[in-house]
């Protein structure tokens, strides 16, 4: 069974329908980029995959489980980067990573240094989160997502705020995880990122998903620009 399955998913905030019949299937070891304009429903759909929202209609399955009912069971197998981060601002980088290693109970606490080094934050290990730059925070979010050696990574704009060098490093890091068998779903606003990194691209427009092959020149660009002018 594919790690992520969304079938005819509907999600709404009150009377506003954020996602209307979205279909998305992600195979093992695949990287799928979810792109769309602001308010297209990307984060809402990701929240449903994380089990933070119950769909109004349709089916969501993550690693063969209903994420809304089995959120706690899925937690160690699903690495998460939230759009808004979610790391406590008055803990240091090292304390944050150690806290999450402790919460997930999968890797030893001594693994903290290696994770911090993996996201190039070794020189900032003793610095409080509130004093990090936006890009550094994003890298810390990624380190926290990797704290349980997850099978699936659900990443909401993991490269936003990163400088070009840090973005390339994040791409390398994700490719490395893919080689180790992980599956990745990530949202992004950067078309070139989706085209370069993703095996497939899911364009979300007005709550509906259209799948695209990023290797077809200009297809993703056409779908995204088409959606903004429709």
């Amino acid at each position: 069974m594919n790690p992520v399955i969304c079938r005819d998913v509907h999600l709404s905030y009150g009377s506003y329908q954020a996602v209307r019949g979205a279909d998305l299937e992600v195979g093992p070891g695949e990287l799928v980029a979810l792109i769309g304009t602001n308010g297209a429903g990307k984060s809402t759909l990701l929240d449903a995959m994380l089990g933070l929202r119950r769909p109004d209609a349709g089916t969501v399955r993550v690693l063969s489980l209903d994420p809304y009912r089995s959120r706690r069971r899925l937690a160690p197998d699903v690495g998460v980067v939230l759009q808004e981060g979610g790391c406590a601002p008055d803990l240091t980088v090292a304390e944050t990573v150690r806290l999450w290693l402790g919460l997930h109970r999968r890797l030893p606490l001594t693994h903290a240094d290696a994770l911090i080094e993996e996201v190039h934050l070794k020189h900032r290990a003793g610095v409080r989160v509130r004093r990090l730059s936006g890009g550094e925070r994003r890298r810390l979010d990624l380190a926290v997502a990797l704290c349980s050696e997850p099978k699936l990574l659900l990443l909401d704009e993991p490269t936003s705020g990163l400088d070009p060098e840090a973005r390339l490093h994040t791409w390398d890091l994700l490719r490395c995880r893919l080689l180790r068998g992980a599956t990745v779903v990530m949202t992004t606003h950067h078309l070139e990122e989706a085209e370069t990194l993703a095996d497939r691209v899911a364009v979300l427009h007005r709550g509906v998903v259209t799948m695209a092959n990023p290797r077809v020149p200009g297809l993703v660009r056409h779908l995204v620009h088409g959606s903004t002018h429709r």
Partner: protein, 242 residues
Amino acid sequence: MRAPAWALITGAEVRMLCRSVPALVMGAMLPAALGLLIVWAEHDTGRAGRGTATGLQLAVLLALTTYTAGTTTLVARRSQSVLKRLRLSGASDTAVLTGVLLPSALLMLMQGAVMVVAGGGQLPGRAWALVIAVAAGLLVAGVFAVVTSAWTPAPELAQLTTAPLALAFLGGAFWAAGTPASEVEWWMLALPGVAVTQLTRLGWDEPGIGTAGGLAAAAALVIAAAAVAPLAVRAVRWDPRP
């Protein structure tokens, strides 16, 4: 062996509390100063009685430290998306809320210890009544903090949204203090401040209240917490987005 999730979260929260000057001033120093004022007033006049004065101190600490500071912490963590993130850690919702609120409870216990020392270091004859007053009071304040956090949009507004219940808590304690223990009616126990004060009076063996009256006060606190808990479970908000 690793610590349970709630203990790990509490550890992180204690670290953050120690690093936040505003939280320390509002959550630790202000309630402690008010409590010490009551100690000295009672020391000077001896009018209220030891048990009643302890009830007033306890109400101040529960209302300002556990309830108000606890609500502020919960709202701050929600607005920083920390609660949402912690929910994805595999920890239960109860463990997350307990972990975030426990430092406010521990701070209140430390403040209480300071009050005891400042009051001469004497413990009440019926210490169990004081223990019940503290434990049940913490339960009520914690549950109310979760409910209040749901309709508090930002941490800086917590002082405002907690004011009605904090005042009701304190007002209840002052009402009880002005009423002889034997004249406190059963329905007055619906105010947690009254119930807490009755229990501390029993602890210090003040006239007009016996074990049955103390148990009724304890039951009133537990019933208040149990009645509000389902509302807290339904109302709790994890996501900063409405």
